[in-house]
Symmetry: C2
Subunit: 225 residues, 2 copies
């Protein structure tokens, strides 16, 4: 479906799980695109022009038209390139897929931030409880090999944050939030997801992320002194 | 398209702008439904069963199947009852509509909370700046009579919070965030929206909301003593 006339650019940075979502979706669809690396310390003219509201990555630019916000981009990709759908066709199942994608962004991310980036011990402990509760709810939603069933869908892609990023970030921070003994089903899913051939070739090297998030952790510790 | 076999219930409370969104969308579609009033101080078995994750309204129950989260419900309504579409058909315009709906929930609501519910004066002032900046960005997006063009669309419906609720809440709190002199275009839109015949018959009485949010304000003041 992609023709030579298509011009698809992804403004991103390898350390971002939100960019990774778009990366994975485009690769699953077989869409050719150019990845333009952004440096958030020194934002490009393109980024400021294409995402004036948030000035954040990812931004997908399709034939000159920019789209921001990873979940909005995933829906756009699915509507624009119909092959290998990432949303179900049934409206009720679509609603559930949207609900759980949003759950990851609203609930899991906020709880993870609180559990990792809070200096106050009591608040941090509350964050740990919240993320464990949220991960249990999420794990209970897993009915097949993937959240999308036999194939990877939008919920799996959104949850790359849990499958690949969270284990690295928690190690960098010396925390244990998502472990195979607490969440065996979700852990198995994360292995299947990370080892899916297309996902695997798309994910950035573990060492790159570990160095980046160790830097986060050091700054986090320093900010408490 | 609605037949006698359809069983549509909305679990809601009149004071909630999130419930109002669903209310308006169903009315615009001409879908018959039963409104079941929830008391959040004493949540019904239904609510706990149908929205175990957030235990919040609105919940739409269609033929026994529950859906939560107002933006997810709006998309479901548009996909299930095709008459009077509330999302554009073009994928790029759909992406923009989703982006601005999300902007209201992520940016405007958080800024409004900060500007109204923060005790610390400096933080509150930052909230006021943030909501003014966000409302300016939002106003600049208004190209026609409605955000949806000639007809009301998903962005207008999502923004019922700005059109109808915000003027009442700010009055209850003695604040002036959204005024006709600061945001003339957005103010005119809010009048057109609130006076749209279907919206008008759906909105709860001003006095009901005023009494409710004055109660909020009194508790907010008391919590600082």
């Amino acid at each position: 479906m992609a023709s030579n006339k298509e011009d698809v650019k992804l403004l991103g940075m390898v350390e971002s799980p939100f960019v990774s979502r778009v990366d994975i979706a485009l690769k699953l669809k077989g869409v050719e695109y150019k990845y333009e690396v952004e440096n958030l310390q020194n934002k490009s003219e393109f980024l400021l022009k294409y995402n004036p509201v948030y000035k954040k990555v990812p931004v997908l630019v399709h034939n000159g038209k920019p789209i921001s916000e990873s979940l909005v981009i995933l829906e756009y990709i699915d509507e624009t390139w119909k092959q290998n759908p990432i949303l179900p066709s049934d409206p009720y199942k679509r609603a559930l897929a949207r609900f759980w994608s949003k759950f990851i962004d609203d609930k899991i991310i906020n709880a993870a931030r609180k559990a990792l980036y809070t200096h106050d011990e009591k608040e941090r402990e509350k964050g740990v409880e919240e993320i464990e509760e949220a991960l249990h709810l999420f794990e209970n939603e897993l009915k097949g090999k993937f959240f999308g069933g036999d194939e990877i869908g939008i919920v799996d892609i959104t949850a790359v944050l849990i499958a690949y990023w969270l284990p690295i970030i928690q190690e960098a921070f010396g925390a244990k939030l998502f472990t195979s003994d607490k969440f065996p089903k979700l852990y198995n899913w994360s292995q299947d997801f990370n080892n899916h051939p297309i996902v695997k070739e798309t994910l950035p090297p573990r060492e790159t992320l570990m160095a980046y998030y160790k830097g986060h952790y050091e700054r986090h510790v320093a900010s408490n002194k």
